[in-house]
């Protein structure tokens, strides 16, 4: 007869080993989790060191309040970042106008109307849309959307803010749709049933119950998508042009912060020139922007959180 299980357990010698692992793993995992913090530190340090050099050459206030961005000028190069910010905002604005209504509508359709099977098919397809490389979108904007726009509105130039704006919008639709759908689906079924049992139509349930209840999640998804639009690079590099402009015109060539970084990365500026340092200053501005968006997202989702 074999010994009892408890005896075998008592005699099994894995014990010491176990204790050591139990002690080591939390520390190891903590170190792994710290990599993301190191990444942020790395980003900030990388950007700041070069940015500081930049500010020894260009006064800080000229940079953040300047309305002319002329880095390549031979006579007097000017580094006022506002035109790049305005360019970024133009594209972001259009992308938001396109993506928010469509994205949220799609989310409502998926979470409130679509059957399980339809949702199972549509969601992965939307994910494909989110996964299309941005360079592909860039050519799509330049060679398809822009010509269509031009045939309707002849005043639109080959490079403009509208076409890349629309395409960036298309790119972030899945993000809004999918995250908002998650937020709506996590509204308990029982609450929906409560409303249906009172004789509400599906639309009333969606509009008056689900959307308000999921509002914090929906807004957070929008903020996240907007920060993706701000940081989008290849689409604007290809289709928005490279003319930094401080005005309200959407039909002509513009330049965004990201496109400027790519322009210099692919370009001719020598190491150690002010232009070289300027990409770090622009990168840092971009980083600050996305950080602000993130703080906003955190605030918004707290502020609009409905309890249930």
């Amino acid at each position: 007869m074999r010994p009892s299980v408890q005896e075998m357990i008592a005699s099994s010698n894995g014990k010491k080993n176990k204790k050591v692992i139990e002690k080591i793993m939390p520390v190891l995992l903590f170190l792994i989790a710290s990599v993301s913090v190191l990444t942020s530190v790395g980003i900030v340090v990388t950007l700041i060191v070069e940015t500081i050099t930049f500010f020894t050459r260009v006064p800080f206030f000229d940079f953040i309040f300047g309305t002319t961005w002329l880095p390549f000028s031979n006579k007097d190069a000017q580094f006022g970042i506002l035109p790049l910010i305005v360019g970024t905002l133009k594209v972001t604005l259009i992308a938001t106008v396109v993506a928010v209504p469509i994205g949220i509508s799609a989310a409502i359709y998926l979470s409130e109307y679509a059957s399980e099977n339809v949702r199972r098919i549509l969601k992965p397809i939307l994910e494909v849309l989110a996964g299309v490389p941005t360079i592909v979108y860039g050519f799509f904007a330049l060679t398809f959307v822009t010509p269509i726009l031009q045939s309707v509105f002849p005043e639109i130039k080959i490079f403009n803010a509208i076409s890349p704006g629309i395409v960036v919008g298309i790119m972030i639709i899945p993000m809004i749709a999918s995250l908002s759908e998650d937020a709506m689906s996590s509204v308990p079924k029982s609450i929906r049933e409560g409303a249906l049992a009172m004789g509400s139509t599906k639309f009333e349930v969606a509009w008056k119950i689900t959307v308000p209840a999921a509002l914090s999640g929906i807004i957070a998804s929008v903020v996240l998508a907007v920060s993706r639009a701000i940081g989008e690079t290849m689409i604007v590099s290809l289709a928005a042009g490279s003319t930094p402009r401080f005005d309200g015109d959407f039909t002509g060539s513009i330049q965004t912060m990201t496109a400027y970084i790519v322009q210099v990365s692919k370009g001719d500026a020598g190491y150690g020139t002010t232009i070289y340092y300027s990409i770090y200053a622009v990168g840092f501005t971009l980083f600050v922007f996305t950080m602000l968006m993130n703080i906003l997202a955190g605030y918004v989702s707290k502020r609009f959180r409905e309890e249930y």
Partner: protein, 290 residues
């Protein structure tokens, strides 16, 4: 094996192995691509990589000692040369080919045939006024000129800037793009458009664009090679790290092959070869470095 270059190769002693890396001008890239492609057949043991970070970006890496050679669509700048000296890197400049900057308009434009260098400057320099075609020639339409130019951070632009603008600012209404193909598209569609870019892009789009002769000279292989198409033809270069040539057998072998084949390759991809003496000079210089 090489069929299209037609050059006899003095390199290619079998069994050379190693890695060679270069970076730099995207204008030079098509020539380099052809050379690397052929070279891979001749010397399979040598691994060559060439980046396209632009002339400036290439020099940046060259200064850091990260590359064996650096392609350039303009001569090295003083600052860059100074940095190289500081870093203790000795280098040699080799000329590879000529590129003719082509000034083009749409085929729908039926008035412009020829412009002088002064006309170009008048058109392209920012002076606060709106530019109309009739400003150049009263017989031309009273329409606003639409400008297209390569990105201000490219070697191509740099060259135009130096010889036409003479360091004045570019007209601010110009549409700029890093991608020359989009310039082609923009100019094609608009009769009032004018733009400039590398000769190769004109050659590839001859049927939709109209090239403007400068002071009566139209860019073609002869006028560019002879220097008659002045001042808008420019030499393309590669700069080699001397230490690499001495220490790295593969780098030396590849550079030899490059100089032997650059001319034919340039013609094949839409640039203009140097007169043969140009390459021979380079080869002599190279030999001296071994």
């Amino acid at each position: 094996g090489s069929t299209d270059t037609g050059q006899e190769t003095s390199s290619g002693e079998a069994g050379v192995e190693g890695t060679v890396s270069g970076d730099g001008s995207s204008t030079v890239a098509p020539i380099m691509e052809g050379i690397v492609e052929e070279y891979a057949g001749v010397q399979p043991g040598v691994q060559v990589t060439v980046g396209t970070s632009g002339t400036g970006g290439g020099f940046e890496k060259f200064i850091q000692g990260e590359t064996d050679f650096s392609n350039a669509s303009r001569p090295i700048k003083e600052e860059e040369a100074a940095s190289l000296e500081e870093a203790g890197i000795e280098y040699t400049e080799f000329q590879l080919a000529y590129d003719g900057l082509s000034v083009v308009v749409s085929q729908e434009n039926d008035w412009v045939e020829d412009l002088s260098v002064e006309d170009l400057k008048k058109l392209w320099v920012e002076d606060g006024s709106t530019k109309k075609w009739s400003d150049i020639n009263p017989e031309w339409p009273d329409e606003e000129v639409v400008f297209y130019a390569p990105g201000t951070d490219s070697g191509t632009f740099d060259y135009f800037n130096e010889v036409i603008l003479e360091e004045e600012d570019l007209v601010s209404s110009a549409t700029l793009s890093e991608d020359d193909n989009t310039l082609v598209q923009g100019i094609q569609a608009d009769p009032n458009a004018i733009g400039f870019f590398g000769y190769a892009y004109y050659v590839a789009n001859q049927d939709t664009l109209k090239v403007v002769s400068i002071d009566g000279v139209e860019p073609n292989n002869e006028t560019i090679e002879s220097g008659e198409y002045a001042p808008l033809s420019r030499p393309l270069f590669t700069y080699a790290n001397n230490a690499s040539l001495t220490d790295n057998e593969a780098a030396y072998d590849f550079m030899t092959y490059t100089l032997e084949n650059a001319g034919a390759m340039a013609d094949a991809v839409g640039y203009v070869a140097l007169p043969q003496e140009g390459y021979d000079e380079g080869l002599t210089e190279l030999e001296a470095l071994k």
